[in-house]
Amino acid sequence: MLKIINVTKTYAGAPLLRGISLTINDGEIMCLLGSSGGGKTTLLRIIAGLEPADAGEIFFDDQNMRDAPIHQRGFGLMFQDLALFPHKNVFENVAFGLRMQSASRAEIRARVNEMLELVGLAGFAARDVNNLSGGEQQRVALARSLAPRPRLLMLDEPLGALDRILREQLVADLRAILKRIGTLRAALYVTHDQDEAFAIADRIAIIHAGRIAQIGAAAELYRAPASAFVARFLGMTNLFPARVCADGRVETELGTFVTASEAKQSPSELEIASAQSFDSASLRSGSHLAMTSALIRPDRVRVGASGVPARVEECTFRAGRYRARVVTDRGARLTIEIDRALAIDARVGLEIESVELLPA
């Protein structure tokens, strides 16, 4: 079990990590998801010991890692640019960590072959790493980091440079491989791509502005994003600024919303489906006057004659349904999912079934 406690790091006067605490349980693949330059890589480097943290502690199985030298931590790290040794061939790259453990010749040969087979590169041992394709190099790097049986494997955007199809295929392989390695206690995977994160992780920690914005399983995050940032990061685009008025109404570009209980009394008003961190009482009383964000899920909008008037800008077929982008007369843009195609420039009414309020 890896425990990260309140790690902070400042770069050139600007805070990069503002107190990250995170626990990765045995057998778990944890994904750090966040935009580039957000400090994810730095956190990995701190865990690996390549950089010191300004404050905070790293524990592995209750053992403080502060004074453990890099090469004795028993962690693996797969670098973003792979960092394959250009002067060594495939076999020598994979064997490197085992040689550092003074493994016997026979043992090294067996383990390297096992690893190469695991990553689907059996027979590549004698090849020059400089002559491999990107995907093959990725696999060599993975085999290399797994060969010495690390307790913890960290992967820093390992599929970053690859094309989409290859990436999707590799990410599935990767999860299977990681889950199959008995000696691997935990894995920490850094990416900026939510699809990749959803595909590989047991749990995802979204990093924003040096803090963990939300942590949870993919479905949890999707079902209940903790903030507008998280929602946006998970690919939800229908987010609108909202103002909570004194009487509990919520004003947005798309119209005024009320809480569910009031909506029953006044059917013309729109329903607020969920408002995390705002209880309905505080909303009703209007005591919370902060700016918030209103999230509208694309499948919670119906197209009809009534409702918010809008014009269809674009409509494409996507995985069995249609996805359309519409713009209201007041200029707000939404993405909606519907069962039938809409003509471009057609005028429609948008019936919004519910909105969710998120902290901005």
Partner: protein, 538 residues
């Protein structure tokens, strides 16, 4: 990245003991409290002219050397051809020829009755020799290019050979023609190596002694020549010390600018093993270019040397036989094999000292910390210090050590050390730090990381450095003459002993020993290059 403080200690201690301390001692004695020398220096316009000429000829020589040697660096970096190793070793030979031998070789070719002039006069029916370059700026430029060709070839070629050609291909695909690709892609990438090489060449030309003194004739003087005259012949130590200071300041300023530039230009490169980068010349145009240029290079570098070798056999093997005979029963007689042995012995120690200290220093300098920024040029200063000044400093400062046999390799290492540092730095700077980190994470201790990652990758640069240290040591004369023990003369010292007396046999023996120097050195250099850790690697 943190500075490697402990790594710095050894080279710094070495410099402090064998460079700074003797230099301070001689400067202190020379000035002994008064600044007469400095005042005189500033008052006399002659010295300003000497400085101007020194800079002028050095800049021109450097430029010419780069222009001539860069295509060769390209050929050696990008093409795979038979005999590359031997050819590269041959380019090093001019570097270790004693100036007076080269001067006589040049004279035999370009003198008024030299073979080139005689041939031209006969062919063109002329009364006067058409080529009159001796004792002019031209012959200085020519000789400097002749001597320093190998510096550019080795430093730039070694770096270029590991540059991923993919980058150039990318530029070509993006629509850049050959010239633009070179100008905008290749040149910026190899710039650190070019700057490093140019720097060394410039310093060599700036502090050039023998070439200017002998070939340039007495009307052309560099600072170094003036220091020698003032120290040895006029014993005007205050002026000599003032000139030494001036030269030091110039050298330091130059070094500072250049080392900063070099550090800024350095970027992590994707280094590729040579095997992939190199190819055989295939199209006719390529073949003409490669073989044509190599032929021209050989003619330029080898003709003077071949004329020395040919002249050494004028008497059949007589001059060689004479080397082994102590005809006058002199106590100063040196069996030639003993001179060869002494030279090789000193060269081996020099390699160990210079490469060892150079590696440590280069590691410390990679960090680019503030200390490194100052130390980088400081490490280059021995190159900019006149051998005479330093030799006199040794007398004053080194007490009981001054008759030690170790002074010779120490002096040689002082001169070779900057070469090693300069050839290592671009390579070290270009190793991606991730490679080291990856090794560490895979369980390699820092020492192991060095052995597994750095050493194999910098092996080429280490070989380049070792070859330089070797050639410096084999060819060095000025400092050696001042510190060597007479019973342990090096080959150049023995050559000068012969040249100090009139007579054909003396001259012939000097040429025979020069030939032996060339053969032994070429063999050693080829052997060293074979040590380069396997051709499939870096």
């Amino acid at each position: 990245m943190k500075t490697h403080r402990p790594a710095l200690l050894l080279p710094l201690a070495f410099l402090a003991a064998f460079y700074v301390y003797p230099l301070a001692a001689i400067l202190q004695t020379s000035f002994s409290g008064d600044t007469r020398g400095l005042a005189e220096l500033c008052a006399d316009a002659y010295y300003a002219r000497v400085l101007a000429f020194t800079v002028f000829q050095a800049a021109l020589s450097t430029l010419l050397t780069l222009v001539v040697a860069l295509p060769a660096a390209y050929i050696f970096a990008r093409y795979d051809f038979r005999g590359a190793r031997v050819l590269r070793a041959l380019t090093t030979l001019p570097f270790l020829m004693p100036t007076i031998v080269v001067a006589t070789a040049f004279s035999a070719l370009f003198g008024p009755r030299g073979s080139v002039n005689l041939a031209l006069m006969q062919f063109l029916q002329l009364d006067q020799p058409p080529i009159q370059i001796l004792n002019t700026l031209w012959v200085i430029l020519l000789a400097h290019t002749f001597y320093n060709f190998t510096i550019v070839l080795r430093i730039v070629g070694g770096f270029w050979a590991n540059l991923d050609p993919q980058v150039e291909n990318a530029a070509r695909v993006l629509g850049a023609n050959r010239a633009r690709t070179f100008l905008h892609v290749t040149l910026p990438l190899i710039a650190p190596a070019i700057v490093a090489a140019a720097l060394l060449v410039f310093i060599f030309d700036f502090t050039s002694f023998g070439v200017v003194l002998i070939l340039g004739g007495p009307r052309l003087a560099t600072l170094e020549v003036e220091i020698y005259r003032q120290t040895v012949n006029l014993f005007n130590l205050p002026i000599a010390a003032a000139l030494s200071l001036a030269q030091l300041v110039c050298t330091f300023a130059l070094m500072y600018v250049y080392t900063r530039l070099q550090a800024r230009l350095a970027q992590p490169l994707r280094l590729r093993p040579q095997a992939i980068v190199k190819r055989k010349p295939q199209r006719a145009r390529e073949k003409i270019f490669v073989w044509g240029y190599l032929t021209a290079m050989l003619v330029f570098l080898m003709t003077p040397l071949v004329s020395v070798i040919a002249a050494s056999f004028e008497d059949g093997s007589g001059y060689y036989a004479e080397l082994f005979i102590n005809r006058r029963g002199s106590i100063m007689f040196v069996p030639p094999m003993e001179a060869v042995r002494n030279s090789l012995f000193f060269a081996a120690i020099t390699i160990v000292l210079a490469v060892g200290l150079g590696l440590l220093a280069a590691y410390a300098l990679v960090s680019q910390s503030r200390a490194a920024r100052i130390l980088d040029p400081v490490f280059m200063l021995p190159l900019g210090t006149s051998a005479v000044t330093l030799g006199f400093g040794f007398i004053l400062a080194l007490g009981n050590l001054r008759a030690s046999i170790w002074l010779v390799p120490i002096a040689h290492a002082l001169i070779a050390f900057p070469f090693v540092v300069r050839s290592l730095l671009p390579m070290l700077r270009s190793i991606q730090p991730q490679l080291r980190q990856a090794a560490q994470i895979l369980g390699a201790s820092p020492a192991r990381v060095w052995r597994e990652i750095d050493l194999p990758i910098v092996a080429r640069a280490v070989i380049v450095g070792a070859v330089f240290a070797f050639t410096v040591s084999m060819g060095e004369f000025g400092a050696t003459a001042l510190v060597a023990r007479p019973e342990l003369p090096t080959i150049p010292l023995a050559i000068y002993r012969f040249l100090g007396q009139p007579g054909l046999v003396n001259f012939g023996q000097a040429l025979a020993l020069s030939t032996i120097l060339m053969v032994v050195s070429a063999a050693a250099i080829v052997a060293m290059e074979r040590l380069r850790v396997g051709e499939s690697e870096f």
